[in-house]
């Protein structure tokens, strides 16, 4: 298999498998979670919990002064990822092809800036994971897996754009394959939080609220 | 003309400047210095650079024309001009039907293609001898 065949495989069958697994998996996940419902509340319900649910979504998204460095790094790479994924012009072409809508892209140097920033921020989160004893003990293989599959598309995308490492065609194929790995990982790892984070926070907050513990 | 062009379309030949001319100038500065110091010649092959026609015009007007213009009458002409700057020569090779096939900037004192080849010079002497011999033979026959 030469590099062109690899690229064509990544853009064709590879993308098909990844899309199907990701969409199927995430849809199944959401149905499963929603259908579980709440456990029967045996005690008297004190509050609707709606306000607490929303407050928890908000509060847990706010920076915590005690860990401001880590939170800032996390913010940077989350925002960076969103910008890079949704506003790099070649990416917008893919979304336009799939969804039929185009929301405009940003110049390459802007995307480049966010990519470098995100890579740096992600490296920082990895380093602190090693050096902070609490976080090191708490970290499992699945955490490192989640980090790797998120980091690879950023790194390979950067390398492909700047013609680093390998021939562009090969690098582009590797980049697309790494994205497909990320897509497949979404429903089967902690990365599902990309779509469930607000649901989970709302659930926790409103549950506590119903018990009378206000956020 | 309004009838011919009812939509009033603006037709533009899109070959904008890309900044290539300035990049070539920087290379020339560097290579002139090297040639002055070490005598090492340098050739920039303009044919293989991604230059637009506007870039090329920009570079040509920046370098200007110097005192020497040489035309080679080979199969297809060649134009060899020294630019306004000593040591920078602009060379254009054409096919017999005036198509430009290669365009070079040479940093040297005299471009190699102008110089007579040592082998040709040797042969030239022999040829002149032949002419003299032929002439003598013709005289004898007369």
């Amino acid at each position: 298999m030469n590099e062109v065949e690899l690229l064509n495989w990544a853009r064709g069958p590879g993308l098909m498998y990844a899309t199907i697994i990701m969409v199927f998996g995430l849809t199944l996940r959401i149905f499963e979670i929603l259908s579980l419902g709440r456990p029967k509340e045996l005690a008297e319900i004190r509050d609707s919990g709606v306000r607490d649910g929303w407050m928890t979504i908000l509060k847990r998204s706010l920076p915590e002064p005690a860990h401001w460095k880590l939170i800032t790094a996390s913010y940077i790479f989350h925002v960076g990822l969103l910008v890079v994924i949704f506003f790099f012009i070649p990416h917008t072409q893919l979304f336009r092809d799939v969804f039929g809508i185009f929301w405009g892209g940003w110049p390459n140097y802007v995307i480049d800036f966010f990519t470098v920033l995100s890579i740096a921020a992600m490296l920082y989160t990895l380093v602190t994971r090693f050096y902070d004893p609490t976080r090191r003990i708490l970290s499992k293989m699945s955490d490192y897996f989640a980090w790797v599959v998120t980091f690879l598309p950023l790194l390979t995308g950067y390398m492909a754009f700047h013609r680093l490492g390998m021939d562009y065609t090969t690098m582009l194929a590797v980049h697309i394959l790494s994205v497909e790995l990320l897509m497949i990982s979404l429903p089967i790892s902690k990365l599902t939080h990309a779509i469930t984070f607000s649901m989970a926070r709302y659930y926790t907050g409103s549950n506590n609220g119903r018990k009378g513990i206000h956020s | 003309m309004a009838v011919m062009n009812p939509l009033n379309l603006e037709i533009e030949i899109a070959e904008p400047k890309t900044g290539m001319a300035k990049a070539v100038l920087n290379e020339l500065i560097e290579q002139l210095q090297i040639f002055a110091d070490t005598g090492k010649q340098h050739i920039i092959d303009l044919t293989s650079l991604p230059m637009t026609s506007s870039d090329k015009h920009e570079l040509e007007s920046l370098l200007g024309t110097g005192e020497i213009n040489i035309t080679l009458s080979t199969i297809g002409e060649s134009q060899i001009n020294e630019t306004a700057f000593s040591g920078i020569w602009w060379i254009k090779h054409y096919t017999p039907d005036r198509k430009l096939i290669s365009e070079l900037i040479e940093i040297t004192d005299v471009p190699a293609i102008i110089k007579s080849h040592p082998d040709d010079i040797k042969h030239a002497a022999n040829e002149i001898k032949n002419i003299i011999n032929n002439d003598e033979q013709e005289i004898r026959y007369e």
């Binding site: 149905f31 070649p90 110049p107 | 199969i75 039907d97």
Partner: protein, 364 residues
């Protein structure tokens, strides 16, 4: 009197080519081959001393576009000089002889130059159903290729069909077409892809083979001098790509300003060829300069690499349909799972027994 005889090598003086003309030819050749000017002079010396090289040209499943292309360099131009350095002993489109006389010429050339001739091939080779889909003089393309390749010094595969299978190999490949490299493994092969290849690239590679031998090749056996850079890397519209200025349609303001054609499906970034520098029709233009994106014709499977007008960052196929299908299937599986969860829950509730104080051993 033939004064020139003493001045230049016999092949050159026969054509009245001066040393400067010759050097000029080599300069332009070296230029397109990205060789240094020193190599140009060396090339001139070598070409002056060689014997005419025997070339056998075989055409298989092809459209004659490659031959059309190379003969476009055969006009009063310096590139055409290459035809003075080769002896085209067999080429069934160009040669005067036909039928058994043509085949005899091929066998004669093979016999006389055994182990020394260069074999040029254009067109792919059909393997399905015993190779019946293309035959010459009753011989299948496969048999002829193997027979002629056996005693060739080197093989030059010309055009995307001979190099990668090309259009005949496009899905569903009805004739079972393959490339020369798929069949011949024991000979040096140079691939010159393109549909068709640039004329001067073909003559340039031949000039290189005659003077310096087989040029440096990439992983797909393409000469790096011509196929080392992508169209995108050498494109004069590259600065617009970097600035994010893209034509959105073929007739919008951006297109008129010469902006990048990436969004209109240009395959420049993944296509390796010399179009952006050498250009076409004697250096007049190339597709992107004419306002159309590169279709990637010199890459393997270019016909099956998605549409010509879809960006290379899009999927090949129908990602929207896959996603919709997966969404429906996911929803169905989700509902089934929800039903299971619900019945598990209601079973649990049904079987739920309240624990009374008596159960725990308390006395009434």
């Amino acid at each position: 009197m033939s004064n020139n005889k003493q001045v230049l090598a016999s092949e050159l003086q026969r054509h009245g080519i001066s040393r400067r003309t010759f050097l000029k030819f080599c300069t332009s050749m070296a230029s397109v081959m990205a060789l240094s000017p020193a190599d140009a002079a060396q090339m001139a010396e070598k070409l002056a001393t060689i014997k005419r090289q025997s070339v056998i040209w075989l055409s298989f499943q092809e459209c004659t576009g490659c031959t059309e292309s190379i003969t476009r360099s055969h006009k009063p131009s310096l590139e055409s000089l290459i035809f003075d350095f080769i002896s085209l002993d067999y080429h069934h489109t160009l040669q005067a002889a036909s039928g058994s006389a043509a085949e005899a010429a091929r066998e004669q050339a093979m016999h006389d130059n055994k182990g020394k001739y260069i074999l040029v091939v254009d067109g792919s080779i059909p393997l399905k159903d015993g190779g019946v889909y293309s035959t010459i003089a009753g011989m299948t393309n496969l048999d002829m290729l193997q027979q002629v390749a056996k005693d060739a010094a080197a093989i030059v595969a010309v055009g995307t069909c001979a190099t990668f299978g090309g259009l005949p190999k496009a899905s569903p490949n009805p004739t079972g077409a393959v490339s020369v490299s798929d069949i011949i493994h024991d000979k040096p092969i140079i691939n010159i892809p393109g549909c068709p290849p640039i004329p001067v690239v073909m003559t340039g590679v031949l000039a290189h083979v005659l003077t310096f031998g087989i040029p440096e090749l990439d992983s797909l056996k393409r000469p790096k001098a011509f196929f080392g850079d992508s169209i995108h890397d050498r494109c004069y519209r590259r600065p617009f790509y970097d600035r994010g200025q893209f034509a959105k349609s073929f007739d919008d303001a951006g297109a008129r300003k010469g902006w990048c054609l990436y969004e209109l499906g240009c395959k420049g970034p993944t296509t390796h060829n010399a179009c952006a520098t050498v250009k076409w029709n004697d250096g007049t233009s190339f597709p992107i300069q004419s306002g159309h994106g590169c279709i990637g014709c010199s890459e393997p499977d270019f016909w099956d690499a998605g549409g010509f007008y879809k960006s290379i960052s899009t999927g090949i196929g129908e990602p929207g349909q896959w996603a919709t299908g997966a969404l429906a299937a996911g929803a169905a599986a989700g509902l089934a799972s929800a039903y299971l969860n619900k019945s598990t829950k209601s079973d649990a509730e049904k079987n739920h027994q309240e624990v009374t104080l008596e159960d725990m051993g308390a006395k009434k």
